[in-house]
Symmetry: C2
Subunit: 469 residues, 2 copies
């Protein structure tokens, strides 16, 4: 085991008596894999409590499932201060309730931490709260039934995106959060500088402003990893990232955050918008199937009132050209102004109009889309771009073929931009056709959960005037 | 299919003739799953080129594997400008080379984009470059053989961390990048403000500084998601995140970046440091096994010269108390000053001294560790903390039990901190014992790949005076 070394000195430090497995069972494991008669220990937080003469019935949860575990304990064994919200450890025997569900006949119970509402705990037992109220207590929000379901769904969804794309041969590339490029920004960006003024002074070179001192230039938070992904796609063919993105917009709509997550993918050698449509449709359908499979009970838990309709999962999505979409809006008498493009209201109308199936809108006017999008063959007023609109949310994915002709691309930029020289280089040396898309991760979660406010599908929402914790 | 709607209008927009599968085969698939005689198309970038009288031998790669695909094409079919670095499409028949490897006998070949070194391409054929030189061309770096192996390894490693922790019942929680808390910072933090001065003016309330306008308070880039993870662990028991972390430090060492990735995990109801040691050991061993399984050829590719020794994967890691570590350093005559704690040099010495097996150092002096760590039972000068030191890199994981006694925790903070009231609340209401750790993702990659500079294991490194692209 130890070659070429003084073994004697160290064997005493090797700990041989560690338990190799943490023996603590989660409530999910207790409900799934224990047998009647098993003696077990369970730990969790009290979600509800009913006192009867002889016994107390306690429902506990530990976040491993949205199901609760019922503990039955003799009144005499119950410690003081046993209230909803308290954390306990209990040992007992697995038995079946009259309804056939596993429960624990407790032989002992102890409190880790009590939870006294009158001390300032914001959630009283048996009360329902609005999501606005719950959002004011972000640090306690994971303790609420619905939000813990959302967190498990979000966790599974991100894992499924990674696994699905990996299975399709994509390489995950962490695009930078800090960047010296401000390409899509149009002013809606955050700037980053060290907080320490002494540090800035010590690093500042002659002629530099304080903002430029640390990185030798102004530095921003990324608004998109696309351009960086493109550089990787020019070597690895299929690449993606799922990471945070930032926008300094003073928008408080139910669909906007200052910090949110985006799944971005870039694919080399794909030359047709139809192929990109298939990529996006396959992604959304496959990941949603994986999610319904892994988290059905959490999704049902969020949909007790409004059952989501997932029949779109097995259908081809609708594809409209931008012109076709325009014609529908005009024909149906919707307020539509070409200069403003398609409003949120009109997005939602189009989806409803097409039978609540996700709708691709393709071939967009060039003048409202970014410089890197590729023109439609035979129509230089349009670009080969797509938006995917989904029920209740509207746009959830945006993508396009990228202009891979060096001269055309450079011509699309009004001023000679030194900042983007590296991006033009990708076309100059070993250039290939590429395309890609960005999927708003939170918007996707709104779509599959039926939750209406984006602040309620991210653990720690940041929006104008709000960055608590 | 379309319930309750005007079906006729839309059936023409449903595209029925999309190919349901993108037919393009990756080079990995060609090498793995085609048969001799198959007619196929391959696309990729030329990595090398040998011209003979009758034929030209071309090696291409597309990033799907570190293996190259050999194309044999008659000299007459070869287009002009066929050079290393150019991107091509080729069609032909799969055959076996004299050595028994699959290759393509090409019937046609076309260039997507040429790659002329004299136009400014920084990599000439058949030349070796230092990693410092390659790093000056970040946008082309994924095209180099070794770095593309690294990117595939990095991608797999992140996926394995997600899957391993998910399999162990952990819930992924995206901790915020933007935060109003500056807890561990000690000045080494970045501040964030909108770049748009008009926006700041329009949002600024009376008495606020410009930095406070957007979020109603000064806002920073996160230096750790631990405290936020703790709030989720107090409901979901086992939580983690793998995300970017920022430090505004003027350090250019081979082990520091301004933006890097950290895997952080928090676990409720674990009360012994031994259990945390087991968690970390299991994580590192299991993920590394998964990685060797998925990316053996890439790891070998990076280790042609220096073969990594992975025998530690099946061994228990060494555990030293801080005191034992001190005694070894003193006995071995190393320069050691208790005030400076254990230097990088001494970390590396300890690991070598213990047979190049990863070494846990546990039970650290309280005065050099953060306020939230839990004291050792019976010794209030020590805390139940661990560092994991690994060969060639030193510290790769740091963790501890967290102080869960409300009064003790509050007592550890010199000034009454309103900012952390939410954190104290976790102990006041339904508090439980928790512990957790942070693993430096890039340092882990250095450890398993044998690469020596942290700038060479992240796609877009940011460090003082460097934030290009």
């Amino acid at each position: 085991m130890f070659k070429n070394m003084n073994f004697k000195l160290f064997h005493k430090y090797l700990i041989h008596d560690f338990k190799r497995k943490i023996s603590q069972l989660s409530i999910n494991s207790i409900l799934q894999s224990t047998s009647v008669g098993d003696k077990i220990n369970a730990k969790g937080w009290i979600r509800s409590l009913r006192k009867q003469k002889e016994n107390v019935f306690i429902d506990i949860s530990d976040g491993s499932t949205n199901q609760k575990l019922q503990i039955i304990v003799g009144s005499k064994l119950v410690p003081k201060n046993l209230t909803t919200g308290a954390s306990i450890s209990t040992s007992g025997v697995v038995q079946l309730s009259p309804k056939g569900q596993k429960e624990i006949n407790a032989q002992e119970i102890s409190i880790y931490g009590d939870c006294i509402v009158t001390d300032g705990y914001p959630f009283a037992p048996r009360k329902e709260y609005t999501s606005e109220y719950i959002r004011q207590h972000l640090h306690f929000r994971p303790r609420t039934n619905k939000f813990s379901s959302l967190l498990r769904i979000r966790s599974s969804a991100q894992c499924h995106f990674h696994n699905y794309l990996t299975s399709q041969g994509y390489v995950n590339i962490h695009t930078p959060i800090l960047t010296s490029n401000d390409c899509e920004g149009a002013g809606e960006i955050f700037q980053v500088i060290p907080d320490n003024e002494k540090l800035i002074k010590s690093m500042k070179k002659e002629g530099q402003s304080p903002e430029e001192a640390f990185f030798n230039g102004k530095t921003f938070l990324s608004v998109s990893g696309q351009l960086h992904l493109e550089s990787a796609a020019h070597a690895l063919t299929k690449v993606y990232n799922l990471g945070p993105i930032f926008r300094a917009e003073n928008s408080r709509s139910r669909l906007h955050l200052a910090e949110f997550y985006m799944l971005e993918a870039e694919i080399a050698f794909l030359e047709n918008l139809e192929d990109l449509v298939v990529c996006v449709e396959d992604l959304v359908q496959n990941v949603t199937k994986m999610l319904l499979d892994s988290n059905e009970s959490d999704i049902m838990n969020l949909n007790k009132e409004n059952k989501r309709d997932f029949s779109w999962m097995d259908k081809k999505f609708v594809v409209l050209t931008y012109e076709e979409a325009e014609n529908i809006l005009i024909k149906e008498g919707k307020e539509y102004n070409p200069i403003d493009s398609i409003s949120k209201e009109n997005e939602l109308f189009l989806v409803k109009h097409c039978g609540n199936i996700p709708v691709f809108v393709i071939n967009w006017p060039k003048n409202i889309k970014p410089f890197y999008m590729k023109e439609c063959p035979g129509d230089n007023t349009k670009v080969q771009a797509l938006d995917l609109l989904v029920p209740d949310v509207g746009e959830v994915v945006g993508g396009s073929l990228r202009e891979n002709d060096f001269n055309k691309l450079v011509g699309n930029i009004p001023n000679d931009s030194d900042e983007l020289k590296w991006y033009f280089d990708l076309r100059k040396f070993g250039g290939v056709p590429t395309c890609g898309y960005g999927l708003g991760f939170e918007r996707y979660l709104l779509f599959v959960t039926g939750i209406t406010n984006i602040k309620d599908v991210i653990p720690f929402p940041r929006w104008p005037h709000n960055c608590s914790m």
